[in-house]
């Protein structure tokens, strides 16, 4: 396999002058007085080395500030490493930070053409592709309006379309899959998979473990600018979560909290407790806390409380089987974005019109996180049972977690022996 990206001992430092001269006058007076400002360097990446082979798909996970974005920018050739080298062969298309991908005063069409020309097409070829890009972005009717007038969702769709439609040999995506509506997200993921199948190389940073698992062959874990691990996704993510727990413990200690991992009567609870989930209630269709019947409506209520004045939190809510099989889980990166102002405590309600689970014992697992998911405020693991009972007694021979309602039929073929018998 040919190596398309080779990163060798890359270190990136940014100069952050604490009293950086903003004007010539300040600069001159600092220079004259012989002290050139206190130059603080921030090390974003430290001695990072890895290779990516053609057609491979590498995921990058790491806490906020671990250096993911810096690394992806360098991979795209935006900026130079302070030390080390990056060798790359092949045309790269990058979806880096969302801002600044387009010129706001130009129409969507003009921006698409510019992107096309810069990725190696002639202007004529690029113009011919605008239709396909606009269609993919679902922006056909506004493609001639200035990008300034687009909503952030439209902007994002266009950015994605552009990055995906000009057949990059190497596609670098930073985090942005987390934004946008889920239907468009799925469409993009589908397209990314197609590009992969066609031999494109993919490097993607994401906070969402499911995305990483579904897209990547291998995952690189970054911790404080260094490579902490490179492994197949399952094990790499495990490592990442261990680092996240360690960070949670360190933080809880730093803010003077008590023991972070407690042992409730059932399951485990962990987190810094800056935001707490005080109670979780699982109620059936009639509003009572009792065992639910398969297919019945269920409401999950959770009471949250801000122990510290914080602006927002991310929320995860999942249903797991007693054997730790994840049946379903949802992650909301921002409760404020989803629900509006949160107050200092409140109740979040999640109603499911029908629970298509087979009879058995399940658990509702909830977690609250800072919006960047760097550590955990409060996580309840297998603490809140949800018992599903059967409506119809004794459906024999069924196992698993999902209640499917199969309809059976049979189309029998004529017996082979009889037909060929007379030949």
């Amino acid at each position: 396999m040919a190596v398309v990206i080779a990163v060798e001992g890359v270190t990136k430092r940014f100069r952050v002058r604490s009293n950086r001269p903003r004007t010539l006058r300040e600069s001159a007076s600092q220079w004259l007085s012989g002290r050139l400002g206190d130059i603080d360097t921030v090390t974003a990446l430290e001695d990072v080395s890895f290779t990516v082979e053609r057609g491979e798909s590498l995921g990058i996970v790491g806490h906020n500030g671990a250096g993911k974005s810096t690394l992806l920018r360098l991979l795209c050739g935006v900026g130079l490493p302070t030390m080390g080298r990056i060798n790359r062969s092949g045309h790269v298309s990058g979806l880096l930070e969302l801002g600044g991908a387009f010129h706001l005063d130009l129409s969507g069409r003009d921006n698409v053409v510019t992107a096309g020309v810069l990725s190696g097409l002639t202007e004529r070829e690029a113009r011919a592709r605008v239709g396909a890009v606009a269609a993919f972005a679902e922006l056909d009717d506004v493609i001639d309006h200035p990008v300034r007038t687009y909503s952030s969702g439209m902007y994002l769709r266009l950015a994605f379309s552009v990055a995906l439609q000009f057949e990059p040999e190497i596609l670098v995506i930073d985090e942005v899959l987390a934004v946008g509506d889920s239907r468009f997200q799925e469409k993009c993921l589908e397209h990314v998979r197609r590009l992969r199948a066609a031999g494109s190389t993919l490097v993607v940073a994401s906070h969402i473990p499911e995305q990483i698992k579904s897209l990547c062959d291998e995952v690189l874990v970054l911790e404080d600018g260094r490579v902490a691990a490179r492994d197949e996704p399952e094990r790499a993510l495990e490592h990442y979560f261990e680092l996240m727990n360690a960070r949670t413990a360190r933080r809880a200690k730093a803010i003077g909290g008590q023991a972070t991992t407690s042992e409730p009567s059932e399951g485990t609870r962990s987190g810094t407790q800056e935001v707490t989930v005080d109670a979780v209630r699982v109620t059936a269709g009639d509003g009572r806390e009792r065992a639910v019947r398969g297919g019945e409506a269920v409401t999950i209520e959770l009471d949250y409380r801000f122990a510290q004045p914080l602006p927002d939190f991310g929320l995860s809510l999942g249903v797991y089987s007693a054997a730790h099989v994840k049946c379903w889980e949802v992650m909301l990166p921002s409760a404020v974005a989803r629900f509006g102002p949160l107050g200092d405590h409140g109740t979040i309600r999640c109603t499911m019109p029908g629970l298509p689970l087979l009879p058995g014992r399940y658990y509702v697992n909830v977690g609250v996180y800072p919006p960047d998911c760097d550590f955990v405020y409060d996580y309840h693991w297998q603490m809140h049972p949800l018992t599903v009972v059967s409506v119809t007694e004794g459906v024999a021979g069924v196992s698993g977690v999902v209640a499917l309602e199969p309809a059976w039929s049979l189309t029998a073929a004529a017996q082979a022996g009889r037909r060929t018998g007379d030949g």
Binding site: R22, S27, L106, D110, T114, V117, E123
Partner: protein
């Protein structure tokens, strides 16, 4: 392979020049005519001032002024906009594998188009005041090349420094206003006396606009000595600007 690459470079520049035009003149009915309107109104005011109010007694004064004003406008329009070249094109600067140097080339070329649109008008004005078209005009492309190098070098310096020090664009604005009066655009350089001649010889833009006037208005080849100095200075400025830009290139990307 390198041929295809060069061809694509040209395509990128061509596209970006067109994009620059669209950005500048979108939603305006007059479009490209705007790039002529400034020098033409300037011409009208100067003619009014120095033919009527304070007569300078120069024959064919409108042609005299315009033949120097047009190359000056190319120069000053480029530099006035140079400060925001990198800051205002964030989408290009941060594109993978894009060399922001191209933006400066594009700005120089796109303003050159404004100049080229003015050339027929200039020739008409000159003809109206009795100037003849002579073979000296063949030297014009060479002159433009030298001026282009000067503009490119200075624009690179301004665009690069302005990323780190926002004062630069304001300084450039003031400097351009002053330089306009210190450049023999609307007066004869020779009338300033012996001492000032050094200024007009050392300032490459002064040499270039006077050479432009010599070719178009008087129909003669400009003096080789001053032009040689101006060419050398322009090339040095260009080299310096490029070296400065190269050194700062990656810091520019980080800072934007």
């Amino acid at each position: 392979m390198t041929g295809a690459l060069a061809l694509h470079r040209a395509e990128v520049v061509r596209h970006l020049v067109r994009r620059d035009f669209r950005l500048r003149y979108h939603d305006s009915t007059l479009g490209l005519a705007w790039s002529l309107l400034l020098p033409l109104t300037q011409l009208a005011v100067l003619v009014f001032l120095f033919q009527r109010v304070v007569p300078l007694g120069i024959d064919g004064y409108p042609a005299f002024v315009f033949s120097a004003l047009l190359p000056w406008t190319w120069f000053s329009a480029c530099l006035a906009g140079a400060g925001t070249l990198f800051l205002g094109n964030r989408d290009l600067v941060r594109r993978p594998d894009f060399d922001p140097f191209v933006i400066v080339v594009v700005s120089t070329l796109s303003n050159l188009l404004g100049y080229l649109v003015g050339v027929p008008i200039l020739l008409a004005v000159c003809a109206a005041y009795g100037a003849a078209l002579t073979p000296a005009l063949l030297a014009l492309p060479g002159l433009l090349l030298i001026e282009g190098a000067l503009i490119l070098g200075l624009s690179l310096v301004v665009a690069t420094l302005n990323v780190f020090y926002r004062d630069v664009q304001h300084i450039v604005g003031v400097a351009l206003t002053l330089l306009f009066y210190l450049t023999p655009v609307f007066y004869r350089g020779a009338e300033a006396g012996e001492r000032a001649q050094i200024l007009f010889t050392l300032s490459p833009i002064a040499v270039l606009v006077q050479a432009h006037r010599a070719i178009v208005f008087r129909g003669e080849l400009p003096g080789a000595g001053a032009l040689a100095v101006a060419s050398l200075t322009s090339l040095l400025v260009c080299g310096f600007g490029y070296a400065l830009y190269r050194r700062q290139r990656h810091d520019i990307v980080d800072a934007i």
